[in-house]
């Protein structure tokens, strides 16, 4: 699926989609593992970063990822009420909702930050969520290409 576009999409991206998935190691990482074990298929445009808990994800880190040119960030955590760290995922959820709101305020699609709680612990669920997310990102433009180019110039990279 990587690099191929359906005929309905007229958008040509300057570069392929790059997405980051933060998967909490208690629920979502299990879903990722099961998806692999069942040999389900996904585009290779995402990179998984396992975390102890979604609550440990700094909002500033997410913003920095977008600034670095990452197209989308997905945070996959446990069910609300099922967090191993005493409802820490509720805290994460509100904080990450704020990040979505900030993206929306400046006109970036808030859907670039996917938040999923407890619906990715089975292989097929993980695959369905991620596939849908990556598909969405394919249809969005690259984040801030001009500024990125400027930055490259100013560093002489």
């Amino acid at each position: 699926m990587t690099g191929s576009y359906s005929s309905s999409q007229s958008l040509t991206r300057e570069r392929p989609v790059r997405a980051i998935l933060f998967a909490c190691r208690w629920c979502a990482l299990l879903g990722a593992d099961r998806a692999g074990r069942e040999r389900l298929d996904l585009p290779a445009s995402f990179r998984l970063i396992p975390v102890e808990c979604a609550a440990g994800i700094e909002p500033d880190l997410v913003l920095r990822a977008f600034a670095d040119g990452i197209d989308g960030v997905a945070v996959l955590g446990c069910h609300l009420g099922g967090c191993r760290y005493n409802e820490a995922n509720r805290s994460a959820r509100l904080r990450l909702f704020m990040v979505r709101d900030l993206l929306d305020i400046i006109g970036l699609d808030a859907g670039r930050l996917l938040l999923s709680w407890g619906t990715a612990h089975e292989g097929f669920q993980f695959v369905a969520q991620v596939r849908r997310f990556l598909h969405k990102l394919e249809a969005l433009p690259v984040v801030d290409p001009d500024l990125l180019q400027q930055r490259e110039k100013s560093y002489g990279r």
Binding site: D60, L94, R95, M98, L102, I106, V143, D144, L147, S154
Partner: protein, 265 residues
């Protein structure tokens, strides 16, 4: 009204433990902040223009000894900012006594302010402004195509840190905006998603809308629209309003330890 305030500060200055009163002073035709310590100087106090004094008050309060306090003749937003700083353990409770002033309609409009009066005061009619109804703000926060508008604004940013320095709530000893890992060193303009949105995120539950950031920006970046929009996004989600003694929902989410229903007896 100014006469009453001059009498008031003269009176307060004679009370024990009052190190001084911070307010605006008219001296040789120029207005500026001044720490009044001598009751005889009280007749130099003026109440206009709207001048953000919270950060100055914070620095003064931090240097006080135990038992000392300062007075502050200021606007509602200054008071709210200092309440937020007290919540964050940055100033001692009782270190600052507030003498609050209301803002005029023009001043409220300039700050897009919904609460241009000290907390606890009955809101006067027809002074408040709904930022969401201001066309400039709407264009920046609601209309399609706003990404390009923001890009154009952020392109002018020269990373002077004026906004951060002027903001009464930005007092962290180690600021992420100066950390190369978050905001690339040497990059001008800075990555807006990093610099401005990180600051907006940190202030989402604390910004009191004083407008000091926008006033200090040499490039006229519409920062007030950004921070007020972030603030109202949080308010829409949780009902939380900054500048009160209520603890931020960003800290309390998931920490409500009560069982899900009340005891009936």
């Amino acid at each position: 009204m100014v006469a009453e305030h001059r009498e008031l500060i003269a009176q307060l200055l004679s009370e024990p433990g009052v190190h001084g009163i911070l307010g605006l002073c008219l001296e040789k035709g120029v207005v500026g902040p001044h720490l009044f310590t001598n009751p005889a100087d009280a007749d130099r106090l003026v109440l206009e223009p709207k001048w953000p004094l919270a950060k100055t008050a914070f620095f003064l309060a931090r240097s006080l000894q135990d038992g000392e306090s300062i007075g502050l003749v200021c606007r509602g937003c200054d008071i709210r900012a200092l309440i937020e700083l007290e919540k964050a353990g940055q100033i001692r409770p009782g270190a600052v006594h507030f003498i609050g002033l209301e803002c005029s309609a023009e001043q409220a409009a300039a700050c897009l302010c919904e609460t241009p009066y000290p907390p606890g005061v009955e809101p006067p009619e027809a002074v408040t402004v709904k930022p969401a109804s201001v066309p400039l703000v709407l264009a920046l926060t609601d209309k399609p195509g706003r990404l390009q508008l923001w890009r154009d604004h952020f392109q002018r940013c020269i990373k002077c840190y004026g906004c951060r320095n002027a903001c009464p709530l930005c007092v962290c000893p180690s600021c992420k905006l100066e950390d190369d890992g978050y905001v690339t060193r040497g990059g001008v303009p800075p990555d807006p998603l990093a610099f401005h949105l990180i600051r907006a995120m940190h202030l989402a539950d604390r910004c009191v809308g004083c407008g000091a950031c926008q006033e200090s920006c040499p490039a006229e970046v519409p920062l007030l629209a950004l921070h007020l929009a972030a603030r109202s996004a949080l308010r829409n989600r949780t009902g939380y309003v900054s500048g009160t003694t209520e603890i931020s929902p960003l800290l309390t989410a998931g920490r409500e330890d009560k069982p899900r229903w009340e005891e009936t007896w």
